[in-house]
Amino acid sequence: MSVVLELSDVVKEYPGSPPVRALAGVNLTVENGEYVVVVGPSGSGKSTLMNVVGALQRPTSGTVRIDGVATSSLRDGRLSAVRGRRIGFVFQQFHLIEGMTALENVSDGLLYSGVSRRQRMTRAEAALGLVGLADRMTHRPGALSGGERQRVAVARALIADPAIVLADEPTGNLDSANGASIMALLRDLNEAGRTIVLITHDRDIAAAAPRQVTMRDGLIVDDSMAVAA
């Protein structure tokens, strides 16, 4: 198994007086095909961890390797490319674009990759089929239920075939039934070989995951895998 995510001594500080140290030296290794849930109360630094792991921000110090690429020294353009090619995002608020159909929303996952429109559409159809929404392709987000919207978002995260699917509270805006079905979808994807990093404050969700990483005050205080090892 190869390592797809590697954080060593990652520190992230936000300027201010005094500066806020959101990550205070985090070490984390995720291997290809793993399903990791990062759990912690608000203010524990898990959102910052998501920013750093998702290449949305660079660490203040330490090294982050995403799919082998060290992001610390990348400029904005390169960092954007890493996000687009190597990471698939799923957000709590779905973040689908109104005014575009489910199919178009999913195909936008490849918009910045230089793939032709026809190919994007073909792959978007496949991705929507994978999440069980083959019959909702021409629906706009407003005409979809919350659970369906999140499925569209998952399809969009998958379409570029990323090394890591990064999900930030993916069930936070869903009722328990829809939440459970999204969790089941993510588990199926993991069983099919996807690497999934899920961030949540929900201990129940974390409890069901094969590996739990617990954060507090900008540090990893517990890693079930590390304990097992």
């Binding site: 690429v69 490319a81 996000r83 973040h95 570029a160 990323p162």
Partner: protein
């Protein structure tokens, strides 16, 4: 630019070198992405584009109306021909007005290429509807004796009735110019209208109106004249046959040659006292000289465009604020700052271009309606339509720069989080 089609090979670089293919946005996709925001908010799009549409419509109609007016003048010149010369006596060395020698029309007619030579002589008389109107009130109408071929010479046409002819040179009949008829209130020959013409001593005589002329662009003096025959003029008013104005027509190509010899043949004694002009030149000059007004109106259109552009900037700033989430997502999907910039520039440009196209149609419509009402030839220069759409696009891109930069500068991590 990388050309790999899948580009998602999972080769790990152990040294941390970045082998990620760069993000890119195809031009067609940029336009498509730029149009999403517009399609999502149609009312806002319409209202914002309206400002640009009004500006462009104003500019197009100004250009179109002035072009149509010019086209009309030129077509008038075409139909009237450029083969007319107007010969008038200059002032004598003492500053007196003079007349041409009464042989003028004969000597001019003898010049080879000349096809018509017709004289007009002003008479000391005034014309009114009846004898009870004070003789001082002339209405600016001149009484003139004219040769019967003057119509052919200046290519004027009758609105109603007939012109003076050889059949009745001595009869008390009169033909009115277009303005004269309007001022006297005579628009048709129904009821056999008469006018009262008095000489300088106040002795009057009824004249029957036998015809009314259409406006005569090449010889405007006919418009404000009441025309009678030389015979009756001589009998009643002791008028001579010396023309005050002589109209000479020849083939347009021969006009310069005719012009060279005309003064000498009309007045061999004092050729330098003769003034010769070519009335079609004045029409041509008019076709070129409405530039001042046109530029003023174009300026107004430009102001409307400026206001429209500011409107676009405003709406785009709002749009960027509202769509932080979308911007964040696109950044997460791989868009670099550049691609966000391009998206919002494309949106502003499209919005304005849309307004420009509507404005072009509107402007062309206004021009068509105006030209139709005026009875002009319609002429909307294609170049002005292209320029209108192009200017609109430029204004939109310019208006979009600042909001697009704001959008591109948003921090992706912050944009993605709800605030």
């Amino acid at each position: 630019m990388t050309t790999t089609t899948n580009g998602f090979d999972r080769d790990l670089d152990s040294d941390g070198q970045d082998s990620t293919p760069a993000s890119r946005l195809r031009p067609a996709d940029a336009v498509r992405v730029g149009s999403v925001g517009l399609r999502t908010r149609p009312l806002r799009t319409m209202l914002t584009a309206l400002g640009i549409a009004i500006g462009i419509a104003a500019m197009i109609s100004v250009v179109g109306i002035s072009a149509s007016s010019r086209a009309d003048l030129l077509s008038q010149i075409d139909s009237l021909g450029t083969g007319l010369l107007r010969v008038a006596p200059g002032q004598s060395v003492f500053g007196d007005d003079t007349t041409l020698p009464d042989t003028a029309r004969r000597t001019a007619g003898r010049i080879g290429p000349v096809t018509e030579a017709a004289g007009l002589s002003y008479i000391q008389a005034s014309v009114r509807r009846n004898a009870f109107i004070d003789s001082g009130i002339t209405g600016g109408i001149a009484v003139a004796a004219v040769d019967t071929n003057v119509l052919e010479a200046v290519r004027a046409t009758m609105a109603v009735g007939r012109f003076l002819d050889h059949a009745s040179p001595d009869a008390p009949v009169v033909v009115l110019g277009a303005d004269t008829a309007k001022r006297l209130g005579i628009t048709s020959l129904v009821g056999r209208p008469r006018v009262w013409i008095t000489d300088s001593d106040g002795a009057g005589q009824w004249f029957s109106v036998i015809g009314i002329l259409e406006p005569s662009p090449l010889a405007p003096e006919l418009d404000s004249a009441a025309m009678i025959g030389y015979g009756v003029a001589a009998t009643l008013y002791d008028a001579t046959t010396s023309p005050s104005v002589l109209f000479v027509r020849a083939a347009p190509a021969k006009i310069p040659a005719v012009r060279n010899v005309l003064a000498r043949s009309v007045n061999p004694a004092e050729p330098n006292q003769i003034e010769i002009s070519r009335p079609s030149d004045a029409l041509e000059a008019r076709a070129k000289t409405d530039a001042a007004l046109r530029n003023l109106l174009l300026g107004l259109g430009a102001v409307a465009l400026l206001v429209g552009g500011v409107g676009i900037t405003n709406v785009m700033v709002i749009s960027v604020l509202e769509r932080r989430g979308e911007i964040g997502v696109r950044r997460a999907l791989g868009a670099g700052r550049r691609h966000i910039l391009i998206q919002f520039l494309a949106e502003a440009g499209l919005l304005s271009f849309l307004g420009g196209v509507v404005g072009c149609a509107l402007g062309a419509g206004v021009t068509a309606a105006y030209a139709h009402a005026k009875g002009w030839v319609l002429d909307v220069p294609i170049g002005s339509l292209a320029a209108g759409a192009g200017i609109a696009l430029g204004v939109g891109l310019l208006a979009g720069v600042s909001p697009a930069i704001r959008a591109a500068r948003l921090d992706p991590a912050e944009a993605i989080r709800p605030t």
